[in-house]
């Protein structure tokens, strides 16, 4: 049976809008991006809580921090590179260094703006924002996880960056979510696989195939990239001795690098990162970009198997 899918941006906008009904301090900022982020209805219904600031991501970030100093909980959502790299110093100083309760959401993360090319890809957001002290990074996968992550983000007192995608994601009811915690999706003794965000959809498919073939894959979903759940990583890798990370991010500075820090500090296990090649990526279709970088379900399964065979 085909699983019901939804647009992550619409789910995100609708979820935040619904939560905002009982959280009067939540306000939304748009950089000519609010409707595409799913806030069309919110904007019409709450003109006093919706700030369109035009195509000005630096100022938008500063304004969000300024709003937060007065008790507002600003949510700024736009195309991921524009609210992570374009505005980086404003994120770093006004949101991070000033420790303001601002929620910045990069949509169309990773390769999902595929054919729009490198300017619109976001393959370094975990690295950039993860370098700012005190910023929580969330990357929910399916709609159930996203609904829960949105609530956790708004209820968390402090700066948060959340990456969401664009392609259809499996629908589902809100489920339990704790910031900083990963969870097991499958248990196994041969190899640990850790993934985050919407990439988990392809990873689940790959892992199901490998498990059907007899490989004992322990799959961990890690919807919080920072702070990383070291406990679950150590628990699993101490058992399997081998860990694979999968993410739609450059190979440096993302989930894989954080997992590497944890396992190397403990002196356990071998790590294999499935991530985007550290080179400028072309404009192409989403499927082609994933395939080139071994991030489609087929590529992920093959890569995990090759690594597992080096035991």
């Amino acid at each position: 049976m085909e699983q019901q899918t939804v647009d992550p941006r619409k789910t995100f906008g609708a979820t935040i809008s619904a939560l905002a009904e009982t959280m009067p301090d939540v306000v939304v900022l748009s950089t000519d991006s609010g409707k595409s982020s799913g806030f069309g209805e919110f904007a019409a219904a709450n003109p006093d809580r919706y700030f369109e600031v035009g195509i000005a991501e630096q100022a938008a970030t500063g304004i969000a921090a300024g709003l937060a100093t007065t008790g507002a909980i600003p949510v700024l959502c736009a195309i991921a590179p524009f609210v992570t790299s374009r505005n980086f110093e404003f994120f770093r100083n006004d949101v991070g260094y000033m420790a303001q309760n601002v929620k910045i959401v990069g949509r169309n993360g990773g390769f999902t703006y595929s054919e729009l090319g490198s300017t619109h890809h976001s393959l370094e957001d975990y690295a950039l924002i993860g370098s700012i002290p005190g910023v929580t990074i969330l990357a929910p996968g399916d709609a159930g996880e996203m609904r829960a992550a949105c609530r956790a983000m708004l209820e968390h007192d402090g700066p948060v960056y959340m990456r969401i995608g664009a392609g259809p994601i499996p629908d589902g009811e809100e489920r339990e979510f704790t910031i900083g915690k990963g969870h097991y999706e499958t248990r196994g003794d041969d190899v640990t696989v850790i993934t985050t965000g919407y990439t988990s959809v392809a990873v689940r498919e790959a892992v199901a195939e490998l498990r059907a073939g007899g490989l004992g894959v322990e799959l961990i979903s890690m919807p919080t990239v920072t702070p990383i759940d070291a406990e679950i990583i150590l628990e699993s890798v101490q058992k399997t001795g081998m860990v694979v990370t999968v993410e739609e991010h450059y190979e440096f500075g993302g989930l894989g690098s954080r997992v590497a820090d944890v396992v190397s500090a403990a002196g356990i296990g071998r790590l294999h990162k499935i991530a985007v090649d550290q080179k400028n990526q072309p404009s192409s279709t989403y499927d082609d970009l994933l395939q080139r970088n071994g991030l489609d379900a087929r590529g992920i399964a093959d890569s995990i198997m090759r690594f597992a065979q080096t035991r």
Binding site: D48, V53, A56, Q58, I63, A65, G66, T70
Partner: protein
């Protein structure tokens, strides 16, 4: 606004504050003195007579906000805050020293009375616009004042914020531009000429006023007469870099001054004389 009974008048406050700057330089003889001295009269007028901010109630949600967007002029704000009772004056002697609350740029988490961690230029106007929008949302009548440098105006983010503040008709936001005409590598005319500053703000939809930034009466008039007409106000202050310290007044070299003991003594003597004359 500091209680009327404790007010010493902005002119005397400015002299005492300049002496406080020199006291900090005795702790660490280096700092962005030129810009601090050019804007210190405006900072003194603000804290003496304009800002509704009480050092005993710094968490009052309806307090006025002052942001030093040109955060390197922190010496001026430290000096005035100390004089107005925001912290013990002894703290001035820790300027620039190990783990100090008085660093080269202001830190809201370390020093009472600081509203934002400025220092990287081009941040204050957006922060202040956000504060003003937040205060409006709370139906507060509190005002927001942002002090910018003229060299700083080359940062494009200022103009993003200028457009937004005008678009939202934030008449509780006032920018004070400290036009001392100099920056670290020369005059602003040589480095990056941002004149005509008033015309630029005017074109962005702001109300503008030009004043002598060392003239307390003119500064006071400009600040008390900001109308609530649905547009933000920019007060363009013509100032003298290093004002009040004869040895460095009007020099590019005053930007980051490293005075000798003799130079400090001479400056202290000039300012101390101004206090005794009163």
């Amino acid at each position: 606004m500091i209680e009327e009974s404790t007010r010493i008048g902005s002119r005397e406050l400015a002299v005492r504050a300049r002496l406080n700057v020199l006291r900090m330089l005795e702790a660490t003889p280096a700092g962005h003195v030129g810009g601090a001295m050019s804007c210190i009269d405006a900072v003194a007028v603000l804290y003496d007579a304009i800002l509704n901010v009480d050092p005993e109630r710094l968490d009052d949600p309806d307090r006025d906000r002052f942001l030093l967007s040109a955060g390197h002029k922190a010496l001026a704000q430290y000096a005035v805050l100390a004089e107005c009772g925001f912290f013990e004056k002894d703290l001035l002697d820790t300027y620039g020293r190990e783990n100090t609350a008085l660093g080269g740029h202001p830190d809201m988490h370390k020093l009472p009375g600081i509203e934002g961690n400025t220092g990287a230029l081009g941040h204050g106007l957006a922060l202040g616009s956000g504060m003003a929008l937040g205060l409006r949302r709370r139906a507060s009548s509190a005002k927001v004042y942002v002090l910018l440098g003229d060299g700083e105006l080359a940062e494009g983010s200022n103009w993003e914020a200028a457009a937004i503040a005008a678009h939202y008709g934030i008449d509780t936001l006032t920018a004070l531009v400290d036009v001392n005409g100099m920056q670290i590598s020369g005059t602003t005319a040589e480095v990056m000429d941002m004149e005509n500053i008033a015309a630029k703000f005017d074109a962005f939809g702001w109300r503008t006023v030009e004043v002598d930034g060392q003239d307390h009466a003119a500064l006071y008039d400009a600040l008390v007469n900001v109308p609530s007409g649905g547009v933000p106000t920019a007060i363009i202050m013509r100032t003298i870099k290093g004002a009040g310290i004869p040895a460095i007044e009007g020099t590019v070299g005053s930007h980051y001054w490293k005075p000798s003991r003799d130079e400090l003594d001479a400056a202290i003597a000039v300012l101390s004389d101004q206090l005794t004359e009163r």
